[in-house]
């Protein structure tokens, strides 16, 4: 190992200080606060309270984020697949120009859009009724867990598709040609030839999406009612109404565990790949 550059360390110090003070310290603080009882010892009492009050919400959060991630993956694969394998040029161009639009729309704007779009009398239901696809009596409000999932998927699909399409564009076209020449359908080529080569990128995108969805406060607050709701809303409620940092931090640790599990799955897959290679 050559001698490390002192100047380099110096240059990187401000960034390190920032991360340390504004991320690592609060992170440690939250872990400590979640596990410390008022007397000063270690205890799980805050987790117990969090479980007593919010066990439904914990499961609800897990359910929503997992389903949203899987749906995001599915739609991204479909769209990226079409972009790579379709043989209709105008379709590719049209799709490419269309899918990116939600990418830079902030979550809060998306939440506001969906709140009026998905309501029982919202634009979506009204359009369906106007087109004759539905009877007015059948309209239902999507402003519950389905609305949250729809919003998340709407927002995250362009992101993951962008990564996937880029990865698919950079794989060797010859493999696709070979598969097609041998008579495989495009769907088969997608699943058996292209996907394994871009699995890495797909996983990164999905893991990032998973963590992002666990961090969003605006969407569950604005789109769904308050029962059941996602953990972020409960944390905000605990802080804003009661100043109850202990329980809020306990909920925070639970959300870390969820993110950590997914990250661990990703790392394990990585290691397996390295070992196989």
């Amino acid at each position: 190992m050559e001698r490390p550059s002192f100047l380099g360390l110096l240059l990187i110090t401000p960034a390190l200080i920032m991360i340390g003070a504004l991320f690592l310290y609060p992170l440690g603080f939250s872990l400590a606060a979640a596990f410390t009882e008022p007397g000063g010892g270690l205890s799980l009492m805050h987790f117990q309270k969090a479980y007593e009050l919010y066990s439904t919400d914990i499961l609800f959060t897990l359910f929503i984020v997992v389903v949203s991630t899987l749906l995001t993956g599915l739609f991204s694969i479909i769209i990226a697949g079409i972009l790579t394998l379709s043989e209709t040029p105008w379709l590719i161009v049209a799709l490419r120009n269309l899918y990116r639009w939600p990418l830079f729309i902030p979550f809060i704007v998306a939440a506001q859009c969906m709140r009026t779009f998905l309501a029982k009398n919202g634009l979506m239901n009204n359009s369906f009724v106007a087109l004759g696809l539905m009877e007015p009596i059948q309209t239902t409000s999507f402003l519950d867990w389905r609305g949250i999932i729809i919003t998340f998927v709407w927002k995250q699909v362009p992101f993951v598709t962008l990564m996937l399409a880029g990865a698919m564009a950079s794989i060797d076209r010859a493999t696709i040609e070979a598969g097609r020449n041998l008579g495989a359908s495009r769907v088969r080529v997608l699943i058996e030839l292209v996907l394994p080569q871009v699995a890495q990128t797909l996983l990164v995108g999905l893991v990032l999406s998973f963590v992002t969805m666990l961090s969003v406060l605006s969407v569950p607050m604005m789109v769904a009612g308050s029962q059941p709701t996602m953990l972020t809303v409960d944390m905000a409620f605990r802080i804003n109404s009661y100043g109850d940092y202990a329980t809020a931090n306990a909920l925070g640790v639970i959300s870390y565990l969820m993110a950590g599990t997914v990250a661990w799955i990703y790392l394990r897959h990585n290691v397996k790949r390295e070992v196989q290679a």
Binding site: I12, A15, M18, L27, I105, I239, N249, G252
Partner: protein
């Protein structure tokens, strides 16, 4: 959705170039019908896709011009621009929130760049111990659900008096955006051709001069892209500001949230449209700045 595939291995075998719509050569008539049917399917699929994509946005536009709207009417009872006037009046909330948001975003970009340009250069050019670990360290804020972090940051800020101040909010935004700015800066610097720097040094320029006259200008497009990214993230940021900035600092997303929760959908929609403008502009412009070689080096 790609709803068609070659109807038999033989037609696939005939389809050697792979770039034309594959038409079974069985009969021209059924081939034409097949193509027409699949084209119609594709157009229908695209239409549905466009509806799902733009419908929610169209909704925003509709609400922004609705003045009175109550059940059982499917469309606004009366249209008008009254709420635009409410939003844009000089004493109104929106103008001051917009100013606050833009100020915070600019300051965030300054702080992020000031911190990440040296770091990016160090990561790209200089030998650092535990380089990979450091890169991952900058990724961590994006890897942890951030609400719990913000809660505790807000609490710490309370005790040092930074809660409810613009400084506090800028710090939170900058820390959140560090991963983009450091990673992209490192990639941008790595993409600069070393030979050019060596040439400058050979002619006799000092390292500092080389940096400012050769390296930085060449890395500038990538750094500009990261700056714009950080700007947008700060402009749209809601959760951190919700905990650290309330109640004195009101950014545009907070205004949107308050208006929406208060049932003021017209104001919320207009505010949302204002927030959309920078994002759309950025998307159109991004092609210019983020070149392929910079993108390929991100994450190395």
């Amino acid at each position: 959705m790609s709803g068609k595939s070659p109807s038999s291995p033989m037609s696939a075998a005939l389809d050697l170039s792979g770039g034309q719509p594959s038409v079974p050569h069985v009969s021209m008539k059924s081939g034409k019908v097949w193509t027409f049917g699949s084209t119609a399917l594709k157009i229908a699929g695209l239409a549905v896709f466009a509806f799902l994509l733009f419908g929610p946005l169209a909704n925003l536009a509709l609400w922004s011009v609705a003045e009175r709207w109550y059940t059982p009417f499917k469309l606004p009872v009366s249209y008008g621009l009254r709420y635009w006037e409410v939003v844009f009046r000089p004493t109104g909330d929106a103008m001051s929130s917009l100013a606050t948001s833009v100020t915070i975003a600019c300051l965030t970009v300054l702080v992020a760049l000031a911190v990440s340009i040296p770091s990016g250069y160090a990561l790209a050019r200089l030998r650092l111990p535990w380089r990979t670990a450091l890169m991952i360290l900058f990724l961590l804020p994006q890897a942890f659900p951030s609400v719990a972090i913000y809660i505790n940051v807000a609490r710490v800020f309370y005790s040092i008096g930074l809660s409810g101040t613009i400084t506090g909010v800028v710090l939170v935004h900058a820390a959140h955006g560090l991963v983009y700015s450091v990673w992209i800066a490192a990639a941008a610097f790595a993409a600069v051709d070393r030979d050019l720097e060596l040439a400058a040094r050979n002619i006799g320029a000092s390292p500092l001069r080389t940096f400012f006259t050769v390296t930085l200008p060449l890395a500038a497009p990538g750094i500009m892209a990261s700056a714009i990214f950080v700007f947008l993230e700060s402009l749209d940021e809601f959760t951190g500001t919700f905990f650290v900035g309330v109640p004195q600092v009101t950014t545009l997303p907070l205004l949107l949230y308050n208006a929406s929760m208060g049932g003021n959908y017209q104001i919320a929609s207009i505010t949302a449209l204002i927030l959309l403008v920078p994002s759309v502009v950025f998307m159109i412009v991004i092609e210019r700045f983020l070149k392929a070689d910079v993108l390929s080096k991100v994450g190395q």
